[in-house]
């Protein structure tokens, strides 16, 4: 079992969600996050003063899937979230030791 985590541009969330629905993904978790990558932050001017803004808003998407599905999920996210510009984000996959469905107590692949 794998956890796929993706950091993408906020306005791409709809496209990513639609792409994942198309390949039959049953559930995902979304959070609003901030951070920076190679693009770093930037300066902004407000009321005549210049400010350094270190963190850029992003959306984090988390999906738990089986071994085989993980590669398809990664492909779908990369394809749908890409604009070709700096700041498009990252996707990574981590291995999960255990999953439990809270309602039934099912474990492992049954809980997916």
């Amino acid at each position: 079992m794998k956890l796929v985590t993706a950091i993408v541009k906020p306005f791409k969330l709809d496209d990513v969600k639609n792409a994942l629905e198309l390949i039959g993904i049953a559930g995902l978790t979304v959070s609003e996050v901030q951070g920076f990558g190679r693009q770093r932050g930037h300066t902004e001017v407000y009321r005549g003063a210049e400010y350094q803004v270190d963190f850029v808003p992003k959306v984090r998407i988390e999906i738990v899937v089986g071994e085989i599905d993980a590669a398809r999920v990664v492909d779908a996210i990369v394809e749908s979230a890409s604009t070709g510009q700096i700041g498009d984000g990252k996707v990574w996959v981590t291995t999960i030791d255990e999953i439990v469905r809270v309602r039934t107590g099912e474990r492992g692949a049954d809980a997916l």
Partner: protein
């Protein structure tokens, strides 16, 4: 010079001015959190621009001597309000009191339109539109409706006014046609020019702060007493009848909207109460001098029901009139204007007969013609102005910016700046800095 009348008109003008910040709250609460500032800024933009145009040439186009057919006042007669500062002891009211009272009508009429283009209009394009629309559409139509022909004691015409007020003789006491049908038809045209927001009809796009909406509706109601009772242009019996009619029609409309919601949806909502208040105010605006208080209750109750039904049309017909300017102001304005033909009571200050009081259809056709003339002219002219702006400077922001949020992208601010993670605090922590990000990209490429 009657100081009592003057005091009342200056007070009424101030009340009507307060309606536009009230409208900013009413509209601001209805959009999503990421657009609240832009929504309010469109009203404040009208507050900033229209008084300047009004002083320069707007008042003169609306209330200058007619230059032909009752369509337009002479723009040069009172250019820069020349000649209006002198005290005239013979006048019923100082000229400047009337100038001020009518100025605030122009402001709110322009601001009303902004509700149709929430979340997606470039601020600069809105300001250009506001100036063009006031000049080409509002000032002339105000002349049609509000500028009455004056005759001296010897029967000689001293001032020629507009065609709806003097030739057609339709009754529009405080602006059902010039303000509400006008703004509502313009809103429909502009919603069609700009197109729907991303996610329209799919996402709920619920109001982000209904407490703001209700404060705004309350301020509108308060200010509207200046709008309607002030339109008597005197502190007299007419103003008092109008005041009571404005109170009771608004109350009845609120009841009507809430009742319809309860029966149809199972809940009476606060948005319904706020919308019912405005629907009632709109419908009683043209008719407040022509009907009895019982007539006002009937107009209000039906306005609440009709407008509550009308706001659903945009989903069926596919136009994104975001905050229901069409459903409330166009429909409510049409109803209130035409209702005079059915419910006008000869005992009311306007003293005209109607179908149900006296059996005459004479007033009814005058009302219908006046209402439709303003509707058609406003819609067509607005569609042309909007299309020209769209094709030249562009009217809509980029789709990415619309999703990120117009406040952040266009105004570099956010309505609710909660704790931020080590950033400056001057810009929003969450919700996007896409434009700044784009600048950064260009910088790194260079």
């Amino acid at each position: 010079m009657d100081t009592g009348n003057t005091a009342w008109i200056l007070t009424s003008a101030s009340l009507v001015l307060l309606m536009t910040p009230g409208l900013a709250l009413f509209y601001g609460g209805m959009v999503r959190a990421k657009s609240v500032l832009n929504m309010m800024m469109m009203s404040f933009g009208a507050l900033a621009l229209i008084p300047v145009l009004w002083v320069l040439y707007g008042y003169s186009i609306a209330f200058g001597d007619d230059v032909g057919g009752g369509l337009l006042g002479d723009p040069t007669e009172f250019f820069g309000l020349k000649g209006l500062m002198t005290d005239d002891p013979e006048a019923a009211l100082p000229a400047m009191a009337f100038v001020g009272f009518q100025a605030v009508f122009a402001i709110i009429t322009v601001a009303l339109i902004s509700g149709a283009i929430a979340d997606r209009a470039k601020f600069g394009s809105w300001m250009v539109f506001a100036g063009l629309w006031a000049t080409i559409v509002y000032f002339p139509i105000a002349h049609w409706v509000f500028d009455f022909t004056l005759t001296g004691e010897d029967g000689v015409v001293t001032h020629t006014g507009g065609w709806i007020a003097n030739n057609l003789k339709a009754i529009d006491f405080a602006g059902g046609t010039a303000v509400h049908i006008n703004a509502g038809a313009a809103a429909l045209a502009l919603a069609l020019v700009l197109g729907t927001r991303r996610g329209f009809g799919r996402d709920a796009m619920r109001p982000h702060n209904l407490t703001l909406v209700m404060i705004g509706a309350g301020l509108l109601w308060f200010g509207w007493f200046g709008f309607n009772a002030g339109s008597a242009l005197a502190a007299n019996n007419t103003a008092s009848v109008v005041w009571v009619n404005t109170l009771v029609a608004t109350a009845a409309a609120t009841l009507g909207w809430l009742l319809l919601e309860k029966l149809r949806d199972g809940h009476s909502t606060s948005l319904g109460a706020a919308s019912g208040v405005v629907a009632g105010l709109v419908a009683i605006t043209p008719s407040c001098s022509a009907v009895s208080p019982i007539g006002a209750i009937i107009i209000g109750l039906l306005a609440g029901v009709l407008c509550a039904l009308a706001v659903g049309l945009k989903y069926k017909l596919g136009y994104d009139d975001s905050l229901d300017v069409v459903g409330v102001h166009l429909v409510g304005g049409l109803w209130g204007t035409i209702a005079i033909g059915f419910l006008a009571d000869p005992d009311a200050p306007a003293g005209v007969e109607s179908l149900f009081f006296g059996g005459s259809v004479d007033q009814l056709w005058r009302q219908v013609v006046g209402a439709l003339a303003v509707l058609v002219v406003s819609f067509v002219a607005t569609y042309i102005i909007g299309t020209i702006i769209q094709k030249t400077m562009g009217f809509r922001i980029a789709e990415e910016d619309e999703v990120t949020g117009i406040d952040q992208v266009v105004h570099a601010e956010s309505g609710y700046d909660f704790a931020s993670l080590g950033s400056s605090g001057a810009t929003a922590p969450l919700g996007g800095q896409a434009r700044a990000e784009a600048r950064n990209i260009e910088g790194s490429r260079a």
